[in-house]
Symmetry: C2
DNA sequence: TCAAAAGTGTTTGGTATACACCCATGC
DNA sequence: GCATGGGTGTATACCAAACACTTTTGA
């Protein structure tokens, strides 16, 4: 069989840029790095890299994330492909944006490797190069929508967390205050959390019960037609 | 200022493939073409083309759609970028999928140009080349979600339509029967349709009132915080 | 006069929201 | 003993779902 080789077609550079979200007590955060090469050296940027011939986009995103942060096994999702012709002044390059959710506490040490990277509160993040601001906006919109219909919030928390932490997390993601009792009632009715006997004593004298996401139970409920709706 | 030129990085072919949805009385349809070149010559496929250096992805999608169908001013949205390494056996090529919604009636004549293209009921569409089946699945899922939260359904209908047509459309998109009265009540409460004095006499003796989507009203309501929810 | 589609409201159940007080503990 | 955050239940409003009969008119 003869294959055309598409030899007349243009080829382009394809970058992968990662919006990395974290959560710390009260605030949604993003991890940024200071570029150490031109163009825009010294400015803040998402972490990124270029797709290689022998890998697919998910693999490239995983590689980029691992290489620059040491992180593994991270929740990631492809967001959108940005293609404005002059978006990168150095050369024609498109960029596929991915967003990632990580548990800051669990992974903080790996991040120290890289001193030019830094966590910012989403609200007071600096201006970013190229179209990276738009990428961040769009990823936040996606995260807000997705967090209401899939249990992805847990990716941003330690395995064990208090109801208060969980609530603060959703307040940070959705950018609005939630009612304590309604929030707990809602989550209880979903019936996908395990209440542990342990308490977290770090934030109050009384202590707060710790919970865990019961992923197995969630999965089996999904098979029976359940769907997470906050 | 010195710009790096990224000259060590791999470049790739980037295709744009379009899932074109139409609606005809009762059924959701997609427009497919029979490939007239290798690889997979003679098999059914989405319409597609390659991104050129001097255009962005939206422009490429518009160009591809226009070139192969003669259509202009079409609702389109970028869906996802598919990147499996061997997805195209001829050469490494990624594909950015777009989906488009068109009014079959209004545009049917332009499509006749191209005899190798054909409308299929979504349900009994043939097997497609490469990963195009997955693209169609994913675009349907997106359409189903989006149709509930944005008034994009109208893109698939003539300017003037009956409530019954509108209902059939949503039944086709959502793949489930809807209650006639609830459907009408819901749409009435949204208050974004104009009831015309004209009737459509083609489907009954009594005739059915025609309606139009009031886009201006919709837009101004959105500015006041309204959001379409079906 | 009858067949075929159009048009029209009300009841009911469930879910979302608003809301306030007691508990346990360390200081 | 009091200040701090933790934990709990109910009443109400609103929205979604179920549901059946009358109207029009061409054949």
């Amino acid at each position: 069989m003869t294959l055309s080789n598409y030899s007349n077609e243009d080829k382009v550079l394809l970058a992968v840029d990662c919006i990395i979200f974290g959560f710390d007590k009260e605030e949604l955060k993003i991890l940024l790095i200071q570029r150490d090469f031109e163009p825009e050296k010294g400015k803040w940027s998402l972490i990124g890299g270029f797709l290689k011939k022998e890998e697919n986009l998910d693999e490239a995103a995983i590689r980029v994330l691992h290489h620059l942060t040491g992180l593994n096994d991270i929740y990631m999702e492809q967001l959108y492909t940005f293609s404005k012709v002059d978006r990168d002044p150095a050369d024609r390059a498109l960029s596929v944006a991915y967003y990632a959710l990580i548990d800051i506490k669990n992974h903080d040490s790996s991040l120290l490797k890289r001193e030019s990277s830094k966590w910012f509160n989403l609200k007071d993040a600096p201006n970013l190069i190229f179209d990276h601001n738009r990428m961040v906006e769009r990823s936040l919109a996606r995260l807000q929508r997705k967090a209401l219909s899939k249990p992805i919030g847990f990716e941003l928390l330690p395995t064990k967390f208090t109801m208060r932490q969980l609530q603060k997390l959703y307040e940070a993601i959705l950018e609005k205050k939630l009612d304590k009792r309604n929030f707990i009632n809602k989550f209880n009715s979903l019936d996908i959390l395990i209440k542990l006997d342990e308490k977290d004593m770090s934030s109050s004298k009384k202590g707060a019960y710790l919970f865990q996401f019961d992923e197995e139970k969630y999965n089996s409920k999904v098979e029976d037609g359940f769907s997470f709706k906050l």
